[in-house]
């Protein structure tokens, strides 16, 4: 069981670290719910972001999946909501993905003023939806038999036992990251590679006297992350021993 997991991908992620700082209007810091609920949370946030932009989501959910790439509906000032059509399925994320891709190509024609960071959010929806669709291929029978194509109302009526299904560790960690970030704006990001390269990205609109405080928060976050990188490597070696051997042995 545990020996069947491919932990190489997880181990590989430790070859670089990514530090993100996000400004939120409110937060509770609650842990991610069980995976089926988390998937619907993500689908709901992405759908809401697209609707707020003016994307006609009902059109994307009414079309057959083979026609999504060529679909070209008009923008809507107040598009209808699609909550009842969101299900735990690659189909839902496929539709959201194509809707976001469409919007990205036509942002200049959006009916409402478009915030500066909207392009980045749409990119995120496309990329994360693709990643989630790939995850579905790896979900075990326990997950698929219980949750595939279920809506929120179905999940609420069920008792979800976490021991009844298993996900690949890399998928859980990625899902957790996608859920934690949601549709929030990353205002600062630093990526540190094991080779020593460091890249920092800042949001363009980050100005004003308070920006300095935010820089301070981000800097300390980077310091702690880099300082404790060895702890994470030690933890990973203890748990992923075989995966590290495979990883370091490959050229």
């Amino acid at each position: 069981m545990a020996a069947d997991f491919d932990l190489t991908a997880v181990a590989r992620n430790l070859l670089n670290i990514e530090v993100n700082t996000i400004l939120r209007d409110g937060m509770t810091g609650e842990p991610m719910p069980p995976a089926p609920h988390a998937l619907l949370d993500i689908a709901g946030w992405y759908a809401q972001a697209l609707c707020e932009l003016g994307v006609n989501l009902p059109a994307w959910f009414a079309t057959d999946t083979t026609g999504l790439e060529k679909l070209d509906p008009p923008w809507e000032k107040s598009p209808a909501w699609v909550s009842e059509q969101l299900t735990v399925s690659p189909d839902t994320f496929d539709r959201l993905r194509w809707a976001a891709k469409w919007a990205l190509a036509r942002l200049d024609r959006a009916p409402m003023p478009v915030p500066d960071d909207q392009g980045a959010l749409l990119d995120r929806i496309v990329n994360n939806s693709d990643a989630i669709k790939e995850m579905f291929k790896r979900f075990d029978e326990g997950f698929k038999s219980q949750f595939l194509n279920r809506k929120r109302t179905d999940l609420v009526a069920m008792t979800i036992r976490r021991q009844s299904y298993m996900l690949q560790p890399e998928d859980i960690i990625l899902l957790q990251k996608i859920w934690d970030i949601g549709t929030e704006q990353i205002v600062m990001q630093t990526i540190v590679l094991m080779s020593g390269d460091i890249t920092t990205r800042l949001q363009q609109a980050l100005t004003g006297p308070r920006a300095e405080l935010l820089f301070g928060i981000h800097r300390q976050s980077v310091d702690v992350s880099v300082g404790r990188w060895k702890v994470l490597l030690d933890a990973a070696v203890e748990v992923f021993k075989g995966a590290f051997g495979t990883l370091l042995g490959r050229r």
Partner: protein
């Protein structure tokens, strides 16, 4: 410093901290594996009362995400923000130390158990050889002493297997 010496130094230092000592360290280490991240939350006074203002998730794969409450950053005095931020990241650092401490506890326990087991076996062996060598094979302290290190190592392997299983629960 040798491995054992370094582990003892780590345990002594952690015992003396005000952050909750060994139980907290074990809890933090468990959280890192079971939740696949360490989560540290800091509240501070705001106009709406005490609110969660900083929340850091340090994930097992090395990614870190810090959420900052926009309103607090925009209105709290700069000195307060700096002070709360420093305390917050000290707590994050301490939470990550939990894994080091948990590993040190495990290594020390494994080593001590092995030495105690071998000591019991060796003592009994010498005693039996001098008194009744024919009853050697029927001596339970000898077998117990030999079995103890094997049991400790098996427990360690079982714990690793359990951690990998917990890692996959979502």
């Amino acid at each position: 410093m040798s491995g054992f010496g370094a582990d003892i130094a780590t345990l002594r230092a952690s015992w003396q901290t005000a952050g909750g000592g060994w139980p907290k360290a074990w809890q933090d280490a468990r959280e890192l594996i079971v939740q696949r991240r360490v989560l540290v939350k800091t509240t501070a006074p705001t106009k709406q009362g005490d609110r969660l203002v900083l929340c850091t998730r340090l994930r097992l794969i090395g990614d870190t995400q810090t959420d900052v409450l926009r309103d607090w950053l925009g209105t709290a005095p700069a000195k307060d923000v700096a002070m709360v931020t420093e305390a917050h990241f000290r707590a994050v650092d301490a939470a990550m130390e939990g894994w080091n401490i948990a590993l040190a506890i495990e290594r020390v326990l494994l080593l001590l158990t092995s030495y105690i087991g071998l000591l019991i076996a060796a003592t009994d062996l010498v005693t039996r050889l001098m008194t009744s060598p024919s009853l050697l094979l029927r001596s339970w302290p000898l077998w117990f002493g030999l079995a103890l290190p094997l049991l400790a190592q098996s427990a360690r392997i079982a714990l690793r297997w359990r951690l990998r299983t917990l890692l996959a629960r979502a």
